[in-house]
Amino acid sequence: MHYDLIVIGMGLSGLMAAKTAAADGQKVLIVGKGMGSLCLFSNTIDVLGQSPTAMKMTDALSQWIEGHPLHPYSKVGLKNVEEALSSFLSLFPLPYSFQTIDNRNCLLPTGAGTLRPTFLIPTTMVGGISVDEGRELIVGFKGFKDFYAHYVADQLRCRGINLELPDLLSQEPTATALARLMEMKSFRENTGREIKKQLQGETRIGLPAIMGTHDPARVKDDLEGIIGAKVFEIPILPPSIPGMRIFNRFKEWLIRKGVTFLLGYSVSKAALKGKRCERIEVLHPPVITSYSADRYILATGRFIGGGLKADDEKVVEPVFNLPLSQPRSRENWFGDSFSSDLPHPIHGAGILTDASFQPVDAGGNMILENVWTAGSILAHHHCIDEKSREGIEIATGYAAAKHALEK
């Protein structure tokens, strides 16, 4: 089968690249072994969380771009970052949409009871903005081990309660199991009534982020209707239900647009001829299938995603064996303390590209003329410390696809 574009990697950057190409009418294949960090970590959309909350994001970004010429945002450019974010937002119409508060970062409570700055906030989390009035009730579930209402409440100086779960669960109550339960009307209503019974004048209810995968806005509305108070979700340990919502929405849209979706398989090899990628080989045990395209976008993420691999000496990119920017030796990968002020040097490692996201060698020479790269696999960002992961994924996925389409 021959395609206009093959996207390798099914995290947010790959999905965004596929969306951009599909919107342009291209025949697209997206292949990925998993759903990327999206379903582990992403709840809201961070763009540049480390910038001051007082600053408009546009100003923060343009300042950042000025100070960091090699950063992925600088290659995308301010205008295209904003276009990319709009393109992402257009996938999420009401009722489950993402919004900003006055185009600035704002603080949301987390599963450790800390406050965390972020930019685009889903409908179900908006109610958690500025929880500093002690008027919140944090609600957990007995037997659910990834959220502790009293832990969160004690940090936020408010009250916490734990609700009993019905015995009908034949499995461990995981985040996904709870999300499915929340989609059952009876469970949701019982939960709402139980919370209402236990209210002591609180006006906002914080729940772990498990309010359903398919129609979270409905879950929220129903709960608010029964309880008579605002309800908001709190990000918890992985997996991330809000991340799965994003994934599902992309998947539904892409498939409707005719994109071929190949989930659960990894690319075992890229066949090159001169400066071109001819085809990729995908391992469907026990057979290997080849797929070819005019252009390829590599968006395989960092270590968890498998885009980068570390042996005991160096970091490598396993699909194309692309040259990487990386610390000189293993001793320099990590700092002496876990939470040092400076990011661990290994997090800055990644693929070197030109301004159009085509991989280059250390001398800046293009390596493959029909391959582009996107997402966290790129060099010269520290998305954990910058709090820029989703922003970089969205912006570079969009930009890499735009550049690929132009050529």
Binding site: T114, Y151, E172, S339, D385
Partner: protein, 504 residues
């Protein structure tokens, strides 16, 4: 709160806990004081080898004989702490067979039963071994759970009326002529200070022995030797694998439950409090260990750690060559004229009981009492309890409910039961007493959950993120040296949880 007792034992390692159990069984009142938790020094920081004595048979037959005798006794009194795996002394082509023959003779002399196995025989028992090996000698080595051993000794002592003070340190010793009259102590958590008066004082502080002796102006010749170890993610060997050559770096791989522990190095240290595993040590352990078990080169490690061996230097002038792995019992009455102070140090985990016996004998002799030791025939309280992986699986399947630690399958119920029965002072005490934070993620998930459980049960209130951050830094010391390969993935996950989702 001032305390009066007959014997004050300083140090809650295997030796100290063993002494207080021994004395308690002889009906002698005593108190144990420990500045951290039980087994927080070398007793808890070793590779968990249940020695047959084989390792020392050639160089130190006396220490070796002690080991094999105690090996037999511990199998009877502490079967629940021991996995009877056997051990193999493996000769590689570069080692030749000269040492092996010496080894066989030496073992016979000290009474260690050996079986000589040829290449195919040993490979059928231990398929991960280097297929080029020449031969292997089977000895009755095994794996021991040092934490349980120490906790059980302490528990039995408590059942016999001994008072155990944890997280409390001796700040000074009060002298009265040629006797120690009392110890000034401080509770390190509450800051409370109090005095313990006793007729006899035992310094069982291992590597810290000179810090206690300094309080009365004394010092013994002791070398501190750091030994570093690596823990693999899976168990690579059924039995203990030793290199059949004179003791050297990285010559042992001890199986332990679901993992293997690769050890050790030996580096002289000056400071007993500050030490860490260096990158060079990690490289050396992997390089040398993989000669015995080639899979070590590919395997994933989950942690590096180090312990300090207190090695006693012979006090005869000019004789620094005989650093014994055997133990020393110093009667400061004879040595320094201080009538009621005893220091016991050196030795091996497997000889802790003998060390306790000799110390208690000396105390009895000083007291003019004639009560015999009974610890060699008196099983530890949990000895009748079935142990091992099979038992853990049975408990686990019966427990149901929430699993706090997915790596090691620790049920919340187990944690809550512990909270109900033990007077725990510190959340680290809970980690010591369960398998929490011992698995692949090294507490990346379960310590947050543990703190959550503590908040649920109102045992913690307020800012627990400070505790969590402290734990992550402590954890980092063991993780950073082994960060390559798959471990980098795990670390990216953990880092993103705490710095990303939780914004630490």
């Amino acid at each position: 709160m001032d305390i009066k007792t007959e014997v004050l034992i300083v140090g809650g390692g295997a030796t100290g806990a063993g002494i207080c159990r021994d004395l308690a069984l002889r009906g002698i009142p005593c108190v144990l004081i420990e500045k951290g938790d039980l087994a927080s020094g070398a007793s808890g920081r070793n590779h968990g080898l249940f020695h047959s004595g084989g390792r020392y048979a050639v160089a130190d037959p006396e220490a070796s004989r002690e080991c094999i005798t105690e090996n037999g006794i511990l199998r009877k009194i502490a079967p629940h702490c021991i996995e009877e795996t056997d051990g193999f002394f493996v000769s590689l082509p570069e080692d030749g067979l000269a040492f092996r023959d010496k080894f066989l003779q030496a073992c016979e002399k000290v009474g260690i039963q050996t079986t000589l196995l040829n290449r195919d025989e040993v490979l059928s028992l231990e398929p991960e071994l280097n297929p080029n090996l020449l031969s292997a000698v089977k000895v009755p080595d095994g794996a021991i759970d040092p934490f349980t051993l120490v906790l059980e000794n302490a528990r039995d002592a408590e059942l016999h009326g001994v008072k155990i003070l944890l997280h409390s340190e001796v700040t000074s010793l009060i002298l009265d002529g040629d006797r120690v009259k009392g110890a000034k102590t401080k509770d390190r958590i509450r800051g409370e200070e109090y005095t313990i008066e006793a007729s006899y004082f035992v310094n069982a502080t291992g590597a810290w022995a000179n810090q206690i002796l300094k309080l009365v102006g004394l010092r013994i010749g002791m070398a501190l030797s750091k030994g570093s170890m690596l823990i693999t993610n899976t168990r690579l060997n059924h039995g203990v694998i030793n290199r059949c050559r004179p003791p050297s770096d990285a010559d042992i791989v001890v199986p332990n439950d679901t993992v293997s522990i690769l050890g050790t190095t030996s580096i002289r240290l000056e400071d007993v409090e500050h030490f860490e595993v260096t990158p060079d040590e990690v490289s050396l352990l992997v390089q040398e260990g993989s000669k015995m078990i080639p899979a070590i080169r590919e395997t994933r490690f989950i942690r590096a750690y180090a312990g300090i061996r207190p090695l006693f230097l012979s006090e005869e002038k000019g004789d620094d060559r005989a650093i014994s792995r055997g133990f020393v019992l110093i009667d400061h009455a004879k040595r320094d004229g201080l009538q009621n102070l005893i220091t016991i140090t050196g030795g091996k985990l497997v000889t802790y009981r003998l060390m306790a016996e000799r110390t208690s004998d000396l105390i009895c002799q000083k007291m003019g009492r004639n009560t015999a030791c009974s610890t060699h025939s008196n099983p530890l309280p949990g000895a009748s309890r079935p142990a091992g992986l099979r038992e853990r699986f049975k408990q686990f399947s019966a427990a149901r409910g929430e699993i706090v630690c997915d790596c090691e399958l620790v049920p919340r119920k187990e944690v809550e039961e512990l909270l109900g029965t033990e007077k725990l002072r510190d959340f680290q005490d809970i980690l010591h007493r369960t398998r929490l934070a011992k698995g692949t993620c090294q507490g990346g998930f379960c310590v947050y959950r543990l703190l959550g459980v503590l908040h649920d049960s109102k045992m913690l209130q307020g800012d627990s993120n400070k505790i969590l951050k402290g734990f992550l830094e402590e954890r980092w010391k063991g993780i950073r040296p082994i960060l390559w390969g798959a471990a980098v993935k795990e670390e990216e996950l953990i880092e993103y949880i705490y710095k990303g989702i939780f914004n630490f």
